[in-house]
């Protein structure tokens, strides 16, 4: 008789855990491709920020000689720095290229989330707990029922007046 944990997975009700563990391993392997894609997108995202920062700093440096050397110098420098950086970064965030890349970055992040969700579902199933999909079905059913009740009630609205109104 073996006391090794894996023996538990081979017979009886825990057998499904062994099968599920395989699913988790598969998900982990599959998620690698998406992790590579996500890292690529994330690098691209930070590259855009870094390039914009470098260009904005160049513009600030070019303005430096114009700032008078007096007691307002620090505030003037700060103002120019903030204005140029805000303008350049807003231009970046407004650009189609940034929007498109950001959309792809979020999309790749969501792919990773899906793998995480699949793995969690396997664990939940092993523990005889409802999966996200099953809970979602309950939420959806509840929403549909509540909506039906609301619409039925609205056919005969009868609001209870407040007892303490205009005390």
């Amino acid at each position: 008789m073996s006391s090794k944990p894996q023996a538990l997975t081979s017979v009886g009700p825990m057998r499904n855990f062994a099968a599920n563990a395989k699913k988790i391993a598969t998900e982990l392997i599959d998620s690698n491709d998406d992790l590579v894609e996500f890292n690529k997108r994330l690098t691209g995202y930070y590259q855009q920020l870094a390039d914009t920062w470098a260009n904005a700093q160049k513009k600030v440096n070019a303005k430096m000689p114009e700032i008078p050397n007096d007691q307002e110098q620090f505030d003037a420098y700060k103002r120019i720095w903030i204005d140029i950086f805000d303008n350049d970064f807003t231009e970046l965030f407004d650009s189609h290229k940034f929007g498109e890349n950001y959309g792809k970055l979020v999309s790749s992040e969501l792919e990773l989330s899906k793998h995480w969700e699949q793995m969690t579902n396997v664990m939940l199933q092993s523990a005889n707990l409802p999966s996200k999909k099953e809970i979602d079905e309950v939420y959806k059913e509840l929403h549909t029922l509540k909506k039906r009740v609301s619409k039925l009630e609205s056919q005969n609205k009868n609001f209870k007046p407040r007892t303490n109104k205009d005390d």
């Binding site: 700060k78 805000d86 970064f89 969501l110 407040r162």
Partner: protein, 354 residues
Amino acid sequence: MIEENRLDPKIVEEFLKFGKNMIEAPKLVPAPDEINMEVTEHEVAYTEDKVRLLHYKPRTSNQTKIPLIIAYALINRYHILDIHPKKSWVRNLLDQGIDVYMVDWGTPTNMDKYLDLDDYVNIYLDNCIDFVREEADVENVSLQGYCTGGTIATAYCALHPEKVKNFVATAPVIDGWKDTTVISNLARNIDVDKMVDTIGNMPPEFMYYCFSILKPFEQGIEKYVNFFRNIENKNFVDNFLRIEKWLADTPPIPGALFKQWIKDIYQDNLLIQNKMYVGGKHISLKNLKMPIFTQVAVGDHLVSPECSMPLHYAVASDDKTLRVYPTGHVGMIASSFSQKKVVPELGQWLIKHS
């Protein structure tokens, strides 16, 4: 010859004072929990699920017969319209004799992920308005929608025009393709189906990301530098912390509602083209024949004027007013300028139309 590098003593003095202010900040500044955001006295008139309808206590002996119901936005919470006694939109209207109600959409949980525009327009807002109609014994009410609340209120006016006597659209999100903000650029490029199917409700963290890239250096640096410079000014600190607390408190947006809003407004731009449907019912801006007062801010970096103003030109109303103010999205509703110019103009218009 060695050139002497001199530092202006005033700069040194300012740096030292700034450092001292940063060290003393924890002693001078109240914790966020100590700030009471419920400024003007009110009671909860009606509740449904997580939605609450607030009714503000009158501050004048006579009030207008037609009450005003404010449909707040989906982002952040209604407190901005009553942020400070001296900058309160609500209090100013009450002082002008207007009977004010406010819709607080509450904080949706995962269970609410299937709530959609139909729920917000045809159930929650409709029930709030019916409650007020019955309580105030009036046929119809004045309705104000702010920001995304403006979109919800616009859809409501199109579907239930008989219940709205006057419509006030304050920075409403209407023409998504004309919106020039960073928000619209992100909204147009996200796969919203995948996003909502994967994560359900739109989490506050995503909204905070969107806010963080709006004027990032002005908001991320200059604002806090000013805060530490003015840390001994109690009024400044109080105002600053109230706004910060409001900014940091945004509820999640129900997934189904977020999906429809992004797709119909920003991606497909259906509302302004009269092609949008809510709960299977067609939304036509031509149904908006009631008096309409549209307020937009030139410096609005969340909802650009180009996005809001098309409402004024698309509706069928003969009695419509467009006001363009030299301020921003929040400045239009919660600032000294707002108190002196924006709310008094609205109050006069409402009184004239009540």
